[in-house]
């Protein structure tokens, strides 16, 4: 392995490959920053250009775009409260409050350090642990997937610990919306309200953009006075770069834990960055000595989500390269690109084309290093541009981009309508003190939870009581224990703090 790794590293470090990767990282960042342009879309758009490239250059370019797009989502999440990709949902929780406090640049740099670092840790895991981890991933069946999603839903307890009923109701509301369309098992057409356009379900990204972005744009428009003509506050401070560096590395445990969570969730097919960033955020809040500061602009929240979502990119490559199972949509496109290059993902890839496989892995490492440089330079420029644009221009422009992005996902007007209606509902619910996080969480986890539950039930039909399958498998039992701890901890902490307040 050592000799192959060395020769692969040399192959990656050609001027041509480095330029392709630089282009990939930059283009991916721009695409990720635009709401509605997903990582999947950006990787898919570049695939035709890689046909004529040699396999190492082609795969390195695609990997770089994927990394850049996942990272790029942080820019819009921090500056305009709109996750550019679903992997950046958690970044809005603390990134946007930081921007509102005039610390937008610090938030962007913190995200850059965390994303690049998370990606590097993910790549190390991919290179050295991919084969044993793939074996672990294979042991996860439908019951385990069901419990994983329930574990994801326990994040509601952290997000809405001050208003648990509303948080839970929001989560259930999101789960119900996720069921619109064709059932994952059984094929029933459900809850379309008589509209044929809903048969394909509601587009997650459209609802996501609507719930996070439209309420914020309406709020800015409604509070636009002569004194507040900028949408993003700017606080002139020196040493932002050093402070951002320390945000990540002062508490290395949060950063490393989040990266490992990201890499592991990425390995599980179907999970990916959408879940990883929220799980990492939840764990960061749970482990923190100041959990109440999360959601108010705590940089550790940005570190957790960004380290995790970039580590999922490399995590997702584990089942793809070792088993031939693409765990996420962009990985599926990379699977196709590998096939077009004459490579067959799976165990034989490491023997028949080890040189290219390891070169691809090393290229992800290099892409993350590039992302750091481009992120620092590009992040500063994007921050300056956004802060220079007056809010009166920024608000209609952002709405324009949300409409353009929602439409471009499936070329469907209905997605735009859903986005806008979602935005109005999100605005109303926000005014009524419903946090948008649990609703979106329900929306993301709904299909995975339902599939796990129904498939698990089908598996259990051979038993006298089919439901026992969810409580008797070893990994399920471990997950149930973690869920009880994860859901109970914020409630216990809130109860304890209320008791303390009562004493005082």
């Amino acid at each position: 392995m050592g000799a192959t790794l060395l020769s692969s590293t040399i192959a990656v470090f050609s001027i041509k490959n480095l330029l392709f990767m630089l282009f990939g990282v930059s283009a991916g960042m721009v695409a990720g920053a635009l709401p509605g342009l997903t990582a999947t879309m950006s990787v898919a758009l570049i695939v035709p250009f890689t046909f004529t490239m040699d396999p190492v250059s082609g795969m390195a370019t695609l990997g770089a775009i994927y990394c850049g797009a996942i990272f790029g989502g942080a820019f819009s999440a921090i500056l305009v409260n709109t996750p550019g990709t679903p992997s950046s949902i958690g970044t809005t929780f603390d990134g946007y409050p930081m921007a509102q406090q005039g610390k937008g640049e610090e938030a962007i740099f913190t995200a850059t350090f965390a994303s690049a670092g998370g990606g590097l840790i993910g790549t190390v895991i991919l290179i050295f642990l991919s084969v044993p981890l793939a074996r672990v991933a294979l042991r996860f069946g439908p019951p385990e997937y069901f419990w994983i999603t329930i574990f994801g839903l326990t994040i509601i307890a952290s997000l809405a610990s001050k208003n648990m009923l509303k948080g839970l109701a929001g989560g259930a509301f999101g789960l119900l919306i996720s069921m619109i369309g064709i059932a994952p098992i059984g094929g029933d057409v459900r809850f379309t309200m008589g509209l044929p356009a809903f048969q394909g379900g509601v587009q997650l990204i459209s609802v996501l953009i609507g719930f996070f972005c439209i309420p914020e744009m309406l709020r800015i428009a409604g509070n636009l006075t002569a004194q507040k003509m900028q949408a993003v506050n700017v606080e002139k401070e020196s040493g932002v770069l050093a402070r951002s560096f320390w945000n990540v590395f002062r508490k290395p445990f949060n950063f490393i834990r989040s990266s490992i969570i990201g890499a592991f969730v990425g390995i599980l097919p179907g999970a990916g960055g959408n879940i990883a960033n929220l799980v990492a955020y939840n764990e960061a809040q749970r482990a923190s000595k100041e959990p109440e500061t999360f959601g108010t602009g705590n940089p550790q929240g940005v570190v957790a989500t960004e380290a995790a979502n970039n580590a999922t990119v490399e995590g997702g490559m584990v089942p793809l390269l070792t088993l031939g199972i693409p765990g996420a949509p962009p990985a599926a496109i990379i699977y196709g690109a590998l096939m077009l290059q004459g490579l067959r993902p799976g165990p034989e890839l490491f023997s028949s084309s080890a040189h290219i496989t390891y070169a691809f892995m090393v290229s992800l490492f290099v892409a993350n290093l590039m992302m750091f440089v481009v992120g620092i330079l590009g992040g500063r420029s994007i921050f300056k541009i956004v802060t220079m644009i007056p809010a009166k221009i920024l608000v209609p422009s952002i709405i324009f981009l949300t409409i353009l992005g929602s439409y471009s996902i499936r070329n469907n007007i209905m997605d735009v309508i859903v986005m806008l209606i979602g935005g109005f509902i999100g605005y109303l619910l926000k005014e009524l003190n419903f946090h948008p996080g649990p609703i979106v969480l329900g929306l993301i986890l709904g299909p995975i939870a339902e599939k796990g539950l129904v498939q698990g039930y089908l598996m259990g039909l051979s038993r006298p009581n089919p439901w026992t399958i969810f409580f008797t498998r070893p990994i399920s039992i471990v997950l149930i224990v973690i869920i009880i701890f994860s859901a109970g901890w914020p409630v216990y902490r809130e109860f304890k703090s209320r008791l303390k307040k009562g004493d005082n």
Binding site: L45, N163, L165, K166, L168, A169, A172, F173, L175, L176, M179, A183, I185, G186, G187, D188, R190, F191, T192, M193, I214, M217, L218, R219, A221, G222, N223, L224, T225, A226, A391, K392, I393, V395, P396, S397, I399, F400, L401, I403, L404, Y407, S408, N411, I413, V416, L420, G423, F424, L428, L429, E431, L432, N433, F434, E450, L453, V454, Y457, L458
Partner: protein, 151 residues
Amino acid sequence: MLKKDGAYNTDLIGGAIMVLSAALFYQQIGNFTTFGLIFPRAIIIILLALGIGLLIKSKLNPYYAEIFEMEEMSKMLLIAGIGLGWVLLLKPVGFAVTSFFAVSLGIYSLEEERTKKTLLKDFIIGGCEVAFFYLIFSRLLLVPLPQGILF
């Protein structure tokens, strides 16, 4: 009580919305197979229970908050109205034309001083912005944007 000192009982309104949503989804349940029904039925029951929980809380320990409080409500409504019109006219009128007018009028509606000069300036900004993204998406990324009556 729905309103107290200008603040609204958000638990009451939120609870009512959740109960109504559960009822709406329940009413939509048709001849689903067992596999298509297990999960939604459970979630509808949970949502209904949580909605009722919120309604009970609104009586026992209500949370009051001022809602829709803004410095310039008219500007917010204008932007919301423009957004709605934009989306509804996107297909019949076309993406480029609708977006040009919507972005320009959106900027104009947020101006401190609305004069002919600012209107002209806003139309130039809107035109440049829409043209830039229209060309990228329709020509470079080949996204088939709605054509409408013009282009």
